[in-house]
Symmetry: C2
Subunit: 258 residues, 2 copies
Amino acid sequence: MVGRKKTQGGKKHVILVSNDDGIRSPGIKAIASALKKLGEVYVVAPDRERSAASHSLTLHRPLRVHRVGPREYAIDGTPTDCITLALKVKGILPMRPSIVVSGINMGGNLGEDITYSGTVSAAMEGTLLGIPSIAVSLVARRNFNFRASARFAARFVRLILENGLPKDTLLNVNVPSAGRIKGARITRQGKRVFGDVVVEKVDPRGKKYYWIGGDMLRWEGGEDTDFAAVAKGYISITPVHLDMTNYSAVSGLQHWKF
Amino acid sequence: MVGRKKTQGGKKHVILVSNDDGIRSPGIKAIASALKKLGEVYVVAPDRERSAASHSLTLHRPLRVHRVGPREYAIDGTPTDCITLALKVKGILPMRPSIVVSGINMGGNLGEDITYSGTVSAAMEGTLLGIPSIAVSLVARRNFNFRASARFAARFVRLILENGLPKDTLLNVNVPSAGRIKGARITRQGKRVFGDVVVEKVDPRGKKYYWIGGDMLRWEGGEDTDFAAVAKGYISITPVHLDMTNYSAVSGLQHWKF
């Protein structure tokens, strides 16, 4: 377990909040506000939307840190950049944070979304740096009501502050649209089946261009998946492991004549 | 197993090659050339370096596809974009590829590098699309000699074409600098310990900026890791699973009062 510790002598927890929708997103404001009762909340987030940024790091250019309010910093980089700079640049945080909270994302991060998601990646970076981390997403397409999901997220953060998390593991939380939440389930990562995802169009000069989009057709994987939980009105909590080794494949591969 | 099939009636394999160093990288030229004896090689790669692009997708702007040579296409996007467009845009590939090969990357992709790496992400995207996929990196900092690693990579590609790969699993291959290769080992993902990774400087106008960099201090994880294999002069072959669920954590979390 990492991060399991008591606060000493009334010393408050420092809570680091980021996201991939950008610092002006209502989702990050909702969660930052809900977490204030648990500790000192610092928001360090991208200065604009960086959805699908995945776990990318900005290595080819310098980054700027702008203080935009009390304990609020905007960075012209990815969610991963934000966590890295929050931890490494002196003067942002007063001490090492007790937890990294990423979200609330406007839209779900289910199944293999976690490999693309900037929201989950901020939690990944926290985990890699040895800090318990949680990513929270609201599975909706419009009418984002962040109030209920922020309240649940705060409850989960409190549990993590009390219990810590297993090593190299983050929690990926997806909350169904408000109004029909039946409870929470521990789930495994499901699998999407996508339809055509590339749209071909012609620009004003007659040249072709392509836009990646497309919709999920269905999901696979059974009743214990993240998709199934959310579809039935439950909050999905998936423990995500950063050791991606397929251990069950190791022995089979040993027989190959490499 | 996916992708295990015989070529029928002398029909050639289509091999899709990409990378994150960009289409002009000597690493991609070396591997494309070495694979020509195994099938029809199509190169679809970023038009410039996209290192540390991770599994990011370009969703906020359109993408262009430029044919730059016979069976060679440059795209103004990430490695993940390249695989997506290669598969979805009509007229690039004559048929579904038998395998996706990403690399040869100039530099290792060891331990948690795989969560940042554009090279590995191209193989991830191939795997998500149900195509056996392999990422190949040369663990060197200068004097990149791609000849030996391309030869080994071609041997591994042949093995995958014959045997397929376990479901949702890619192979992450790291080749030590040439001249001292002792063989190949099936490994697990190790763990880096980083030093300070952010450099603070002042720009000509007197304003601070930050640049992410820094060096690995050491690695952890024992003799069966990717780091250990490469350090001892062996090629490291790690089976990487896209189901990131930490199954061993599920039962413990069931007891939490979510």
